[in-house]
């Protein structure tokens, strides 16, 4: 029902209203194109001469664009991808000032070189160890448990020059990053990922620390109550890598994690087994909470990155990408080896990744998402 004047002409009726709307829409789109499109046009017409320096003005602008996104929900995902993609023309360089400040704040909160794992030094026999999940209660460290701990932390602050932390994202598939990863001084991997020849070209062989989630042991290896050799054989593919388990997350994890140590001892394996100190994990969680990463539980990837930040001078992340498509918008699998989605609502993966992109822009660590040369 439109308004019609007595002369019979349709002054502000249905049709003219429609027309006005269309015109307004067109105008806004045009304005947008003029305002934002400028950058793109500029970029396309500029003569591309290899990657830009980290500190060149254009890179500063590009990085600022990512830093401007304060919360993930502020922009559309595709918009973030675009900004990230355009940043790829810039070389990455460590920002010493930022990185040192960040590391100092980390050492103040978490102190990985002394508290990352439970050791004989930081957890004497008779300690009442509090589980990470409060409701799980307290574990009394008996002489037998104490015996399984290493004498002291095996790593010291900034011991390694260049570290690589491998998330297992599907983005690693066909990345050809294997060589680059193997060239790092120290390589962290999460959750017992396959590194067979089939994947080696993308993910490399070298492993110095591998974490195992006890739920994997429960599901794939029947809690080690039955056969143990299959599990041992899987661990052997990592050669001398140390195995790290969140044994003191909750009571369910403890027995299974201890069993891993027994299995390796029984088979006379030189690999050592470490357990995350629950207090360290809690501190890390609190630290990231203040940085805006909220989740029921942080992923083991983030834990490793946090530890690596303290143990290494330079941290490179590979395979940390938790979106259904890569920055170019092509759909990818969830992991580089399978496409099993995790339980929703437990981890806040996109948030964590977004956080890494920020750290990358600040020059604290480098996130690799493209193809390696």
């Amino acid at each position: 029902m439109g308004y019609s004047d007595p002369s019979g002409r349709d002054l502000l009726g249905n049709r003219s209203l429609c027309f006005i709307f269309i015109c307004a829409f067109g105008l806004v789109t045009l304005l947008q194109q003029i305002l934002y499109g400028k950058n793109y046009i500029k970029r396309y017409f500029e003569f591309y001469e290899g990657p830009y320096n980290f500190n060149s003005t254009i890179c500063k602008d590009l990085r600022q664009e990512i830093m401007d996104v304060k919360v993930l929900s502020m922009v559309k995902q595709s918009e973030l991808f675009d900004r990230w993609k355009s940043l790829q023309v810039c070389k990455w360089e460590m920002n010493k000032v930022e990185a040192n400040a960040f590391k100092t704040s980390l050492s103040r909160c978490c102190n990985a070189p002394t508290f990352l794992f439970t050791t004989k030094k930081n957890t004497p026999a008779g300690t009442k160890l509090r589980y990470e999940v409060d409701s799980s209660g307290i574990l009394h460290i008996s002489a037998e448990i104490f015996k399984m701990f290493p004498d002291d932390m095996p790593f010291s602050r900034s011991q390694f020059k260049k570290c690589a932390v491998i998330g297992n994202g599907g983005i690693l598939k066909n990345s050809k990053c294997g060589k680059e990863i193997d060239s790092a001084n120290f390589v962290f991997r999460c959750n017992l990922p396959p590194i067979s020849d089939k994947y080696a070209i993308d993910v490399g062989y070298k492993t110095d620390i591998v974490t195992i989630n006890p739920s994997i042991i429960t599901e794939r290896f029947q809690k080690l109550e039955k056969w143990r050799k299959p599990f041992y054989e899987v661990l052997q593919t990592y050669e001398n890598a140390s195995v790290v388990l969140p044994a003191f997350y909750n009571t369910r994890n403890t027995e299974v994690s201890f069993r891993v140590k027994y299995v390796l001892d029984d088979f006379d394996s030189p690999q050592s087994v470490f357990y995350f100190h629950p207090q360290y994990l809690l501190n890390v969680q609190r630290f990231w909470m203040m940085q805006g990463v909220r989740a029921k539980r942080l992923s083991s990837g983030l834990m490793l990155v946090t530890a690596a930040m303290e143990l290494c001078e330079e941290v490179h992340l590979y395979g940390f990408w938790a979106f259904p498509m890569n920055p170019s918008g092509i759909f990818i699998t969830h992991h580089y080896y399978d496409n099993v989605k995790p339980r929703p609502g437990f981890h806040a993966m996109p948030n964590e990744i977004f956080n890494f992109l920020h750290l990358h822009s600040r020059g604290i660590l480098q996130v690799h998402t493209g193809v390696c040369r």
């Binding site: 039955k226 056969w227 143990r228 050799k229 201890f258 069993r259 027994y262 001892d265």
Partner: protein, 345 residues
Amino acid sequence: MKGSALNSNGILRMISKFPRNKLPMGAALGIAVLYWLYIFTLYRIPSDKEIVNEVLRQGNVWKKNLTAALMFRKQLEECCDPKNLFAVTKQNTPLGSTLWYDGEFFHSLSVNNDTYSLFIKETPLQQALKKCAVVGNGGILKNSGCGKHIDKADFIMRCNLPPLSKEYIQDVGTKTQLVTANPSIIEKRFRNLLWSRKAFAESVKIYGSSYIYMPAFSMKPGTDPSIRAFHTLSDINANQTVLFANPEFLWNVGKFWKARGIHAKRLSTGLFLVSLALGLCEDVTLYGFWPFSVDLNEQSISHHYYDNVLPYSGFHAMPEEFLQLWLLHKSGTLRMHVGPCPDEV
């Protein structure tokens, strides 16, 4: 005492109060008495001393009685078919069949793919064996010097993973072809194999390439430890083969001996092995079967040759079993060695 007297008074009063209840109560009492008679023997078991005297009177005189041996073996074959049924095999327990636990009241396990894969293909002792030795763990073996005698046998069976370390070799020998392992031992000595398994793997090495015979399907709590023992040994590619005792065989052997007057909740492993040996071998010799606290010279001896841990009372009826075996010895069906073995062989 007082309490029980009062109690029985109360029951009597109750019975007289309700005359109608007299009959069922009487019947119940009668059944209780019969059951009591069944469990506790009517005849008195001879005392240790009498048995010692009896054994001494018999002395070293023993003569094999082939007909008795053959007859006994035939009886065993009829009831239990030891050769084919003593262990669970893929042949006698096909996929989907049900294993009824012989030590539980009403409990069974149906064979699925997982369990079926644990079974040996077919019964391992096909051909008849000539000379078998069954070695019990009685303290009488200590300083007996029977080691060489035992090692002469073709097939040597031992009970309950006994120690065979250097200090015992002289008395118990070194060879083993079949050794039983009670799940309760796995639970106690090896912490159920849930933690470190090395101790177990090391301790069975001493038995060479023998069979480890486990009553996995007798008691409910015994199944998991037994299967874990199988996993442990298959993980390290051990020489030993785990055989699971067939509950049907154990049940039948139990009935067989019950008919001959052994009143125990459960037969000892030794007697199961003797029954198996009698069914499989031509000559059976027993060593270390002596459940008494004194030896033939009335010197007190330890319970086992390696320790002096007494078993739960009332579970096994060792003296009765010994008497039965002694009867077989006297009849020439098998030979029982008590006391030291002579030096010359």
